[in-house]
Amino acid sequence: MTAAVTSPGRPPATRRWARALVAVVCACVAVAVPLLNVLPPAGSALHVSDFFVTLVGKLACYAIVAVAMDLAWGYAGILSLCHGLFFALGGYAMGMYLMRSIGAEGMYRSSLPDFMVFLDWKELPWYWHGFDRFGFAVAMALLVPGVVAYVFGFFAFRSRIGGVYFSIITQALTYAAMLLFFRNATGFGGNNGLTDFKRILGFSLRDPATRAALCSVTGAALALAYAICDAVVTSRAGRVITAMRDVEAKVRFCGYDPAAYKLFAWTLSAVLCGAAGALYVPQVGIVNPSEMQPSSSVEIAIWVAVGGRGTLAGAVLGALLVNGAKSWLTVAFPTAWLYVLGALFVGVTLLLPGGVVQLSTRAGRARSTIGRAIGGLSAARRAPRAPPPRGVPVAEQEARR
Amino acid sequence: MLEASDIHQFYGGSHTLRGASVSVQAGSCTCVMGRNGVGKTTLLRAIMGLVPVRSGSVSFAGRELSRADPSERARAGIGYVPQGREIFPALTVEENLRLGTLARGGRARDVPDLVFRLFPVLRTMMRRRGGDLSGGQQQQLAIARALTLSPRCVILDEPTEGIQPSIVHELGEVIRRLYQEEKMSVLLVEQKLPFARRVAERFFLMERGSIVASGDMGSLSDDLVKRHLAV
């Protein structure tokens, strides 16, 4: 697949625009939306509904996942199709804390979570201990996906498994995990998952102010996740990582160990996903094994592809666009969504391989079918022909086509 | 008659064929010679349409083939015997031969008689798997398969590479029959100078992607050999 038009360390102008765009998005999510929900009275024109706050919070969580995915895929060239798993693991960690926070207020009035009473369990399994503490749960939300990713990646990258084989194995990984979590005996609520949460850190989850606060924290987390990934890709390590994506054999010859760099990008990516999952579950109110289904991870890849791989900002854009469309379409035209998703995937691959951000640069427009169509239409209105992209010699243009 | 004119071919940024031109008359045999890396195999593949060319033309029997894909060129009557033989190891000798007849079109699936006249030993091996044949036998099968098309032109890329001397001699005889008796055009790439001298009538010498000398085999002087073929 073609690499992105902008790459790390490229002309600062593009990078500044990208950062500005993401800053605006984060400001909306972290500040504007929550404030417009909490301050103006309900019914006023400026009031943002509770539903919308939750939606924005969810979208921001997806954006974090997309940024993490772009780090692994767009920059390190690792097409992971199990990022849904890391997201879910982070979600489960937070879910376990939220379950324990219910205390004795559940249906069965027991200190054990409802589903365990239902299964006739007498005491808390050992792996649920500690999750009554928020700090522990957060640590686990980051550590568990990180460790899973690290171990899996350690063996996969050392064995030089790559390309489609790696992607298929990740699908198997997430599928196996899903089956494992479906089992009641595994102890995470089986196919119902964890739900009916009441409070987080003492604050009721039904209170709109709590939701607004969660949305705000998610916005801040998105900014932080983006900042971390941005710092990594603009560092020397980032250039090694993209070089490795482009010509791995050469990077190895130059004395860098590709396995170590892949493992780093992949594990960091998984940890960020875990964080996103932990932020997602309190806002959505449920976590179950369907988050681990193989198709969820494929959708993550589609968000990044639509937005534009290898640009970070493109990932944010793609996550917002695709999930925004999904939220709207599944309500307005419920049966249409899968067709739209499929068409999006095919369309982007054929017509706009660099994603939406490709349209923002002249060179990108020249290379994409959609861009050329747009250019052709606007040029038809102005008589003179559009000039070829500057800086690209004619022979090279032909080679590119 | 087979004609390739002024072929320019690029592999990435690398200019591999620079205005190479070769021709072969019906009923004659031409050998393209040169050291490794000069572009001999690339030239044959370009004539066959297996690699894209930037400019230049290929025609056979007056028919322009520059835009045709390899299967069309095969149907036009050009049989190709690639380097390394490339027969199908999992298929039997008979199946390998019948596959060739598919390119002919029409209903006849009969292997032309010529094949068995040239390679009588193949009749005794029809049920044998291609992969179980020796190198020399595989080479014979490869040429036979190209002949099942009833071609008017045969292109052979280093047919004697890795073959034992007795079979090499037989191959030379087969090639001679092809152009002297059957009046086909034969285009050959060969590194073995004595074999080329014995079998071919004309030569083209390649260096760095272009033709630097050509003529009748008799005029291939020691000086040319020293300059373009030896170290």
Binding site: C254, F264, V392 | R35, Q191, A230
Partner: protein, 244 residues
């Protein structure tokens, strides 16, 4: 004096086929050696063994006296053995300068590259490489947009910034224009002395231009070795190239 490279009785078999058959050769410090031979003679396999891409079944390879036969590739690369492939493998989405910069890091671990800055001696090495390869004016250009010859020189430059002791160069002039070939000859000739260079080539005109000593390989062993004249007039070499 210890030879820079000592290959001793190296044998490599692929599925019964002997790519290298008890091959022995040695290189002295600062020489420019041309390695030639017909197809399948073992030239690429020899380079693979030296760089650690392929493990020999038997025999040893010593680099500056040290046994590197079983060391992993990136360790051998770190010791000062640089290889340039036939097709340019520069990093197309990085600029010329970034390509060179990627090569200078002494310590190539993840943590170091995350947090470090370019040292002044590394900057100097980059400048020297740009000067030697004549690519100073192109430093901001994306490597993917360079001409074929320029990509080859960039790749040589990328090897140079690592200050390798031994340079293995595989068919450097394939597909180049005449001017590019001449420039490449100049570059390689100027490298010998400070570095030891091995050039594998088929283009005999080019070899004639730059060769000091020529080694002819055939069927996995050294057939002949000497000056261009010696080798050209050796009847065994003639026979091998022209066939019996």
């Amino acid at each position: 004096m210890t030879p820079v490279l000592a290959v001793d009785q190296v044998t490599v078999s692929f599925d019964g086929f002997r790519a290298l058959d008890g091959l022995t050769l040695s290189l002295s410090q600062g020489e420019l050696r041309c390695l030639v031979g017909p197809n399948g003679a073992g030239k690429t396999t020899l380079m693979d063994v030296i760089t650690g891409k392929t493990r020999p079944a038997s025999g040893t390879v010593r680099f500056d006296g040290r046994d590197i036969t079983r060391l992993p590739e990136h360790v051998i690369a770190g010791l000062g053995v640089g290889r340039k492939f036939q097709r340019p493998t520069v990093f197309p989405e990085h600029t010329v300068h970034e390509n060179l910069e990627l090569m200078t890091r002494r310590d190539k671990g993840v943590l170091r590259t995350l947090f470090a800055r370019t040292r002044s001696d590394e900057r100097a090495a980059i400048e020297r490489a740009l000067e030697l390869t004549g690519l100073g004016d192109e430093r901001r250009r994306l490597a993917g947009l360079l001409a074929h010859g320029q990509k080859q020189w960039l790749e040589i430059g990328m090897l140079l910034v690592q200050q390798p002791k031994l340079l293995l160069v595989d068919e450097p002039v394939a597909g180049m224009t005449q001017e590019e070939i001449e420039r490449t000859a100049e570059i390689l000739a100027s490298l010998a002395g400070d570095h030891t260079v091995v050039v594998v080539e088929h283009d005999m005109e080019f070899v004639r231009t730059i060769a000091q000593t020529v080694t002819v390989l055939h069927e996995g062993r050294v057939l002949a070795q000497g000056s261009m004249q010696d080798v050209q007039s050796d009847p065994r070499v003639v026979e091998v190239y022209l066939g019996a």
